[in-house]
C-alpha cells in the first residue's frame, strides 16, 4: 500500500514540477545556483573518480590480456569504450547519488520539517516550482557535463597508468580508442547521464520534500534518497543497455 502512495506522490510531484516549468524564468537564479552546486562543485570528485577508474581499468585489463598475440591497442579499445558506454556514467552517478542526492534530500528535508516549505507556500510561492524544478532541471542538464569530465579524466588516468606501468604506450592506447570509437557510444553515454541525473535529483527531491519527523526523519530521508538512487541507477543501467545496445 505504501508503495502505491509513494509512486502516486512521486508522480504528482514530478507532474507539478513539469507543469510549472513555464515559470522557469522567474526562478532562473535558483536554476543557475543549482547547476553550479550540482555540476561544477562536483567536478573535483568526479575527475578523481574518473581518473582512478581509468587507471585501474588499464592495469587490470593489461593483467588479464597477457597473451602475446593480443595487440596492446586492444587494452586502449577496451578501456576507452568501457568508459564511454558504462563506467563514466555509472561511477559518476553512484558517486553523485551520495554527494548530490544526499545534499538535496537534506536541504529539502530540513526545510520540510522546519516549516520552511509551508512558509514558501504561505507567501504565494509554488514550492515545487521553487525547490524541485530547479534541482531536477540542473541535474538533467549538468550530468552530461559531469559525464564528459568523467570520460576525459578516465582516459587520462588510463593513459598515465599505461605509461607508468610500462604496459601500454600512448600510441597504442590512442590507436585502440580510435579503432572502436563510435558516435553511437557517445549518444548512449549522454542518454545514460541524462537519465541518471533525473533519477538522482527527482528521487532526492521527493524524499526530502516529504520528510517528516524532525532530525531523525531528515536522516532517514537522506539515507533513503542515496540508497534508492543507487538502486534505480543500476536498474536503469540494465534497462538502457538492454534497449539501446
Amino acid at each position: 500500500m505504501q508503495l502505491f502512495i509513494d509512486v502516486g506522490r512521486y508522480c504528482r510531484l514530478i507532474y507539478e514540477a513539469i507543469r510549472s516549468s513555464t515559470e522557469v524564468g522567474m526562478y532562473r537564479k535558483n536554476i543557475i545556483s543549482e547547476m553550479i552546486k550540482t555540476g561544477f562543485d562536483s567536478l573535483p570528485i568526479i575527475i578523481l573518480a574518473g581518473f582512478f577508474t581509468g587507471a585501474v581499468m588499464t592495469i587490470q585489463t593489461s593483467y588479464q590480456l597477457v597473451a602475446g598475440f593480443i595487440p596492446p591497442s586492444t587494452i586502449g579499445a577496451i578501456v576507452s569504450q568501457s568508459l564511454l558506454i558504462e563506467l563514466a556514467a555509472v561511477i559518476s552517478a553512484l558517486v553523485l547519488a551520495g554527494r548530490v542526492g544526499a545534499r538535496i534530500a537534506t536541504e529539502l528535508g530540513t526545510m520540510a520539517v522546519s516549516e520552511q516549505i509551508d512558509a514558501l507556500e504561505s507567501m504565494g510561492f509554488n514550492s515545487v516550482t521553487f525547490l524541485v524544478m530547479p534541482r531536477v532541471l540542473a541535474g538533467v542538464l549538468m550530468f552530461p557535463v559531469i559525464w564528459v569530465a568523467a570520460v576525459v579524466s578516465g582516459m587520462v588516468g588510463g593513459l598515465l597508468a599505461g605509461i607508468l606501468t610500462g604496459t601500454l604506450p600512448v600510441a597504442d592506447f590512442m590507436l585502440g580508442a580510435r579503432q572502436v570509437f563510435s558516435p553511437a557510444d557517445v549518444s548512449f553515454g549522454v542518454i545514460k547521464s541524462f537519465v541518471f541525473g533525473y533519477i538522482i535529483t527527482s528521487i532526492s527531491c521527493y524524499k526530502g520534500y516529504f520528510a517528516t519527523g524532525g532530525a531523525e526523519g531528515v536522516g532517514q530521508a537522506t539515507t533513503q534518497a542515496a540508497v534508492l538512487s543507487c538502486i534505480y541507477i543500476l536498474v536503469a543501467d540494465f534497462v538502457l543497455a538492454f534497449l539501446l545496445l
Binding site: D118, A119, E121, G124, F125, N126
Partner: protein, 244 residues
Amino acid sequence: MIEIKNLTKSFGSNLVWSDVSLTIEDGETLAVIGKSGSGKSVLMKHLNVLLYPDSGEVLIDDMNVFEIRYARLRKLRQRFGVLFQGAALFDSISAHENVAFPLRFFSELNEKQIHERVMECLELVNLSDIGNKSPAELSGGMRKRIGVARAIVMEPEYLLYDEPTSGLDPQTSDEINDLIINMADTLDITSIVITHDMHSVLRVADKVAFLDKQILSWYGTLDELRNSDHKELNAFIRASEYTI
C-alpha cells in the same frame, strides 16, 4: 471577515476536530487555545489552505477558499502573513534577505525601494540594526521578530501567529505580545493567534476559541472568558497557573 463553517479534519483514522464553526471579524484578534495536540495549528493551516479539510468551508469575502484554483489560491495566500512556530526563516540567506524575500518575487519595487520597505518592517519589530546577520546568529525572540517582519512585508490583511511566545522567556514573550498588539493597532490587521500561553491570550486577544475533545468547546470574548463556568476551559486556565 473569515467564516469557518462546520470544518472537520482527520488524519487517516485520527479525528483532529469536527464541526468547527466560528467567525473572525475584520480588525479583531482571535486567540485559539487548547492542549498540545488539540489541532490548533491544523486549524490555522486551513485558513490559508496549507491543509484541506474532510468537510466544511472557510469563507473569505464569501468565497470558499477550498474551491478556488491554485493560481488564485496563491494570490489569496498573499493576503495572509504567517509567523510559524519556529519562525521558519530561510537558513541560507540573511535575516534582512528573509524579509526582502517575498518582495523580490512578488513586487515591482526596485532594490532601493525593497531596502526601504525592509527597513520599515524591521523598525516596526525593533530590529532595524540587524545588519547582515544570518538566522542562525539570532536568538529565539529575534527570529520570531524577523518572522513577523517577513509576514507583514507584503502588507497582508490577516496575520496568523503559530505559538508566538513558545520557547521564549517571560520578558521576551511580553515583547512579542506587545508586538502583536502593535501590529494589530498600527496596521489595522486581523490577527489569529494560536497559543496555549494564557498570559499572551489575556494581553492580545479580543475573542478566544477553545479546542478540546475534538470540538470547538468554547468560543467568546475575553469578558465572557472571565465569567465562564465552562469546566474544561477553567481547568485549562488553572493548569496554565493563571488567574483571571
